[in-house]
């Protein structure tokens, strides 16, 4: 008979002993063990998890990846907001059940609810890993999941991100967002280039090196390409770059006027874009396969900054048709236009991947990030304090946002939770970092 273990985790943010209740539900639905990571709204309830250094099973770990995998995956789990990572040093010996049990006993005593035993085999230029997830709240430290991952030794951080995302999946039913990418603009005004980095800011790589102005990178839903407005030919034209391939960029739109503010449809087949070729900035939808543009808006004012609802049926955008820039919603054919915000100047609406809310930037003296329900109700502010915060970009699970802020001086990319909590820098270093775009989970 299956048994369900329910972990009700206390709300402390630090590693503390918390109340655990093992319950026997009257009618178990599934065989085996169901673990509930009870994370509730208003929560802060986290699961304490131990990830000691990986155990090297075979091969020569000359790059100390056994430690890197544990530390990077641990940082990912901490960032997720779902876990507290219990501090650990050293690795669990290989093939030693008694040592394993002793380790878990000590971690359980330190408050850990779960333990991850990582095994690493270095085989040529490949890193092969196996992770074993244990329930430390069960007296016998039951093994509850085993997974294997393998990647080239050149990308150990990505391997750690995939492991972390799997652990999040095991405990929540939805994978984490560590194996994703951040695109952004770097450089001062007049000399801005596009970069791509891991979601945590590591491994930055230049995508453009044309010495002109490159703006508004936006990931395609498959995570393979970026739509970018570039002045490489002198005028603001729309391009598609392929940062992971030896493939030249494509010109998507080079009409007279601006070709700006791209937004991929959720199915990746279309790009909403602002063109002024017909007189003033209007929204169009480009069919990427056919190159045909379909006009959506028809108004003397500015219409720009489109973002698609996750079902692809609606588009939010900015218009100044009532005198000040505000957030509007229309269907993806351009009909049923309605204004959903009022008040100060508002731009950069970005529809949440969950569909329920729209993040945007409000200018009231300084700029701050807000969210509003998609029906226009309950606008609420996420950033406060000194400096400007703008350019929101959602994580694929809707739990986090990237944004740019100059609160520390120059512009940097920060991340925060969707409720505005835990705002922390992602990028560091000289030069302005702006216009973040968070990719989908990589394939």
């Amino acid at each position: 008979m299956g048994r369900r273990v329910v972990l009700l985790i206390g709300s402390a943010a630090l590693v503390v002993l918390v109340s655990l209740f093992a319950l026997r539900p009257p009618a178990p639905r599934a065989q085996g063990v169901d673990v509930f990571l009870n994370v509730t709204a208003g929560g802060g309830k986290k699961l304490n998890i131990a990830i000691p250094d990986f155990t090297v099973v075979a091969g020569n770990d000359s790059s100390a990846n056994a430690r890197l995998l544990a530390s990077v995956a641990g940082a990912d789990l901490t960032f997720s907001g779902l876990f507290n990572v219990v501090a650990a040093t050293g690795a669990i010996p290989v093939n030693n059940p008694d040592a394993l049990k002793q380790s878990w006993t000590e971690f359980a005593a330190a408050g850990a609810h779960a333990g991850v035993h990582g095994l690493l085999t270095v085989r040529g230029d490949r890193l092969e890993t196996e992770i074993r997830v244990y329930d430390l709240t069960s007296p016998e430290f039951r093994l509850i999941a085993t997974r294997r991952f393998e990647l080239p030794a050149s990308v150990p951080r990505r391997l750690a991100h995939k492991i972390a995302d799997e652990i999040v999946l095991q405990f929540t039913g939805e994978p984490g967002v560590a194996d994703t990418k951040l695109a952004y603009v770097r450089g001062p005004r007049g000399a801005k280039e596009i970069y791509v980095a891991d979601y945590d800011g590591a491994n930055p790589v230049a995508v453009t090196r044309n010495g002109t102005i490159n703006l508004s990178p936006v990931w395609s839903p498959d995570g393979r390409s970026l739509a970018v407005t570039s002045y490489v030919k002198g005028y603001p034209d729309l391009y598609r770059f392929f940062p992971f391939e030896r493939r030249p960029e494509q010109i998507l739109a080079a009409f007279a006027g601006i070709n700006s503010s791209p937004a991929w449809s959720p199915d990746g087949k279309s790009i909403a874009v602002t063109l002024s070729k017909d007189g003033n900035p209007e929204l169009y939808v480009l069919n990427v396969a056919t190159g045909v543009f379909r006009r959506l808006t028809r108004h003397v004012g500015i219409d720009t900054d489109p973002s698609w609802a996750p079902d692809g049926r609606q588009i939010t955008f900015v218009s100044d048709r009532n005198g000040t820039a505000h957030i509007y919603v229309m269907d993806s054919e351009g009909a049923s236009v309605r204004q959903i915000t009022t008040g100060a100047m508002q731009t950069q609406p970005r529809w949440s991947p969950k569909g329920d809310v729209i993040a945007y930037t409000t200018r009231q003296g300084t700029h701050d990030i807000w969210v509003v329900n998609a029906d226009g109700s309950n606008p609420r502010r996420l950033t406060t304090g000194s400096g400007n915060s703008q350019g929101p970009s959602w994580a694929p699970n809707g739990r986090h946002l990237f944004f740019q802020t100059d609160r520390l001086g120059g512009w940097q990319i920060f991340a925060m939770f969707a409720d505005g909590s835990e705002q922390a820098p992602i990028t560091r270093g000289p030069g302005d970092f702006t216009s973040p775009s968070w990719s989908s989970r990589l394939p």
Binding site: I258, P281, D320
Partner: protein, 207 residues
């Protein structure tokens, strides 16, 4: 083993609702709109003017404008401009002392009366030098956000263009370009500086 472990999708994950704070209501300002767009946006001439129909919010539907991309999306290119409209490179244009900048109020693109006199003077010079092509740059201050400012700079350049055309300068001599907030004249974070940056700038080149 390990697949016995079943997932439980959690409801709302830690998304705590922050206190609902309503936007401060402010009467919407009604701004004087720029002259209605006329003519093509550039010297390329291939694009017609959109009729100004403020009340037409609805889908163009089957009657909407459908146009092919100028360049084929299948044409991978860094050399790429082959199918792009013939636009003179902005680098070919240079300043002349007789053509003066005009400036704009924050988040506005209508021509102020004093600036109209500047444009009258610019128009007189342009009509007296018909062998010159004109590039109008539209610029914004650093406030506001990039994509909106690109559109705002475009509107400013277009407002200046429309005014010059209304004064008898041929539209097919004029190309416009928006730099949004990307090329400020002045980089301090002051109103004095911002006011200088909210501008239309005029450059010429011989035909």
């Amino acid at each position: 083993m390990g697949t016995r472990f079943s997932h439980v999708v959690l409801g709302s994950l830690l998304i705590a609702a922050v206190a609902a704070t309503a936007c401060a209501k402010r009467p919407a300002t009604t701004q004087a709109s720029a002259p209605a767009p006329t003519g093509a946006a550039g010297t390329t001439g291939g694009t017609g003017a959109a009729p100004a129909r403020p009340s037409d919010f609805t889908s163009p539907g089957s009657s909407g404008t459908t146009s092919s991309a100028q360049p084929s999306t299948a044409a991978p290119t860094t050399s790429g401009g082959t199918a792009t409209p013939v636009r003179p490179s902005p680098r070919e244009f240079s300043e002349v002392a007789e053509l003066r900048d005009i400036n704009f109020d924050f988040d506005k693109y209508d021509i102020r009366p004093g600036d109209a006199r500047v444009l009258d003077s610019n128009a007189t010079w342009l009509k007296g030098n018909p062998n010159h092509l004109l590039l109008i740059e539209g610029h914004c201050d650093e406030r506001g956000t990039n994509e909106y400012n690109l559109a705002l700079g475009e509107r400013r350049a277009k407002s200046a263009m429309n005014y010059l055309v209304s004064q008898g300068v041929q539209a097919n001599r004029i190309t416009i370009i928006s730099y949004g907030e990307e090329r400020p004249l002045c980089t301090e974070h002051t109103e004095e500086c911002w006011a200088k940056n909210r501008r239309a700038h005029f450059l010429v080149k011989p035909r």
